[in-house]
């Protein structure tokens, strides 16, 4: 399939327009083909090749990587742990982001712009920088533990374990969640809340019966985004986990760079994509149920 056969302008099917469109789209098609489509297809095929160790590949195609990964207790545990940890991070991110999104939805004018800049700025700050900030907070000599010590309490181990990874990733994913929630808050009409209040509903009841149901599309979108990003994030779990927290993404890197078992790394990558697909299906089901 070449670009020229794909691209024709309706109404004026002259060859010069086809030529021009091909010329304009040619570079982006070339880059996408060479550095995206081809590598990803290659990765898929690689998951069916035998690893000979040290980066070597067998000639024959095999299902061994898939079958051994899906039978091996270590990898099953890894997949289950990755999904459970990501779900936990997603829920915490939602709880932490919801008040900010609700507040931003109500805020107006200059103040709203300032707060939005504060939400978006971390998104544009390198994950390495933000993770480093978390090390300063969670380390044995960090903000929390030094505060605890000053108060005479016992220090807690917050770094190089799952607690640190969950706290750090929750904060890192908050901007995505807040923006997704805001995008889905369109149906939240203050007049509906007012009507409920006028009819005698308590603020608590208004929140659970009016605000929460009306914001479900945003919640679903934000959760999908957070979950998908949590499953695939690498920098934060690696640095805050200190190599002691094993998740799918960190295992892919180790297999690819340390063990040089590319077929296994490719298989784990495909499993991440399968988890993505499942999350997407669940999201569309959920969306249909709440709308």
């Amino acid at each position: 399939m070449t670009a020229a056969t794909m691209i024709t302008a309706p109404g004026s099917r002259t060859s010069s327009i086809v030529f021009l469109a091909t010329l304009l789209l040619g570079p982006i098609i070339a880059v996408n083909g060479l550095a995206f489509i081809m590598p990803v297809l290659n990765l898929l095929m690689l998951s069916f090749r035998e690893s000979l160790g040290g980066g070597g590949l067998g000639d024959a195609y095999t299902l061994d990587n898939w079958s051994s990964t899906l039978v091996d207790g270590f990898y099953i545990e890894l997949i289950v742990q990755s999904i459970l940890t990501s779900l936990m991070i997603t829920i915490l991110t939602l709880v932490a982001s919801y008040p900010i999104a609700l507040y931003l939805h109500r805020a107006q004018g200059r103040w709203r712009t300032i707060l939005l800049v504060l939400v978006i700025s971390p998104l544009l700050t390198s994950a390495v920088v933000r993770t480093y900030g978390w090390i300063a907070i969670l380390a044995d000599d960090g903000l929390i533990n030094n505060t605890l010590k000053a108060l005479g309490a016992d220090a807690m181990r917050l770094l190089f374990n799952k607690v640190g990874v969950v706290i750090g990733l929750t904060e890192i994913l908050m901007p995505y969640m807040i923006l997704a929630l805001l995008a889905g808050f369109g149906r939240l009409d203050p007049r509906v809340e007012e009507a409920a209040e006028t009819l005698g509903a308590s603020p608590w009841k208004v929140f659970w019966r009016i605000i929460v149901p009306l914001t479900m599309p945003g919640v679903a979108l934000g959760c999908l985004l957070s979950f998908v990003l949590a499953v695939s994030s690498f920098i934060t779990p690696k640095l805050l986990g200190g190599g002691r927290v094993f998740l799918l993404a960190t295992e892919i890197y180790d297999q690819a760079i340390v063990t040089l078992n590319w077929p296994l790394a490719a298989t784990l990558s495909m499993i991440i994509l399968v988890i993505f697909g499942a999350a997407l299906v669940l999201y569309s089901r959920l969306l249909r149920a709440v709308l």
């Binding site: 109404g11 304009l24 995206f36 998908v228 892919i252 991440i272 994509l273």
Partner: protein, 264 residues
């Protein structure tokens, strides 16, 4: 719109969560002025020693140079590639424009760890590992979706009538584009350039797969430093990066409107 007062409970909750959200980025600033050899918070004393240290750290300075050059080249190339593509998709009513746009933004949906591995394997065979060219191509793949999205949105928002008037008056399509269309979409172009630069400059995961002993980018050098040492050096670099990010955010806000770029 809503003129009712925001409930106090919501105000307090939102404030607490904002503190949580901004804590790690804000905390990096005082740490960078620490006088300690190891990272502790609060520091036992204040100094500029880590900024001085950074100036003499040839590895970090080299990585900073590589990242800057890389981000500039990737920004220019992504503009040269995405601008014509955006024009073809929006203005030429190409068949399957929607599908093309979806295909070109697809790399954003793929986890960077998967994309990094996929590119590593292909580049290893092509001899592009640990090369500047390899980094440029890989960064283009993740920068182009952003560039294309902002440019198509910007182009689609322009009134066609001015361009039509110009061509009715005898201007060639190229003249119309360079004299009418491009100046009108300047905010979009500036926003694209700023975003492209930042996305390339901050990219860590894919670069981690592709860099080697001979060439390394700043985020990779920082990552490797944090992995092995716990000193305030990275805080000093982080402060410089945060200032850079704020500058870019201001540029985007002044030209294209930050809120419009990120929130519908």
């Amino acid at each position: 719109m809503d003129e009712r007062p925001v409930p106090l409970t919501l105000k307090i909750l939102a404030f607490v969560m904002f503190v949580f959200l901004l804590a790690p980025v804000v905390l990096v600033v005082p740490i960078s002025f620490s006088a300690d050899t190891y990272m502790t918070f609060p520091p036992s004393g204040w100094s500029m020693r880590w900024y001085v240290d950074l100036m003499h750290n040839s590895r970090m300075i080299g990585a900073l140079g590589t990242s800057t050059l890389l981000a500039v080249i990737v920004t220019v190339l992504s503009m040269l590639i995405a601008l014509p593509a955006a024009y073809a998709i929006i203005r030429m009513r190409v068949i399957g424009a929607e599908a093309l746009l979806a295909l070109f933004t697809a790399p954003l949906l793929l986890p960077t760890i998967v994309l990094g591995l996929a590119i590593l394997i292909v580049f290893a065979g092509a001899g592009l590992l640990g090369t500047f060219t390899g980094l440029v191509i890989a960064h283009l793949i993740i920068v182009l979706p952003y560039a294309l999205r902002v440019l198509t949105t910007s182009l689609a928002g322009l009134p066609l009538i001015v361009e039509e008037a110009a061509s009715t008056l005898g201007a060639s399509p190229l003249t119309v584009f360079t004299r009418i269309t491009m100046p009108m979409m300047m905010p979009g172009i500036v926003a694209t350039a700023a975003l492209s630069f930042l996305v390339s400059f901050d990219e860590a995961v894919i670069s981690l797969f592709l860099t080697g002993p001979r060439i390394t980018t700043l985020p990779v050098a920082m990552y490797q430093h944090v992995e092995t040492q716990a000193d305030p050096l990275v805080a000093a670099i982080s402060v410089l990066l945060i200032v850079l990010t704020l500058a870019v955010v201001m540029i985007v806000d002044r030209t294209a409107g930050l809120t419009k770029t990120f929130v519908k």
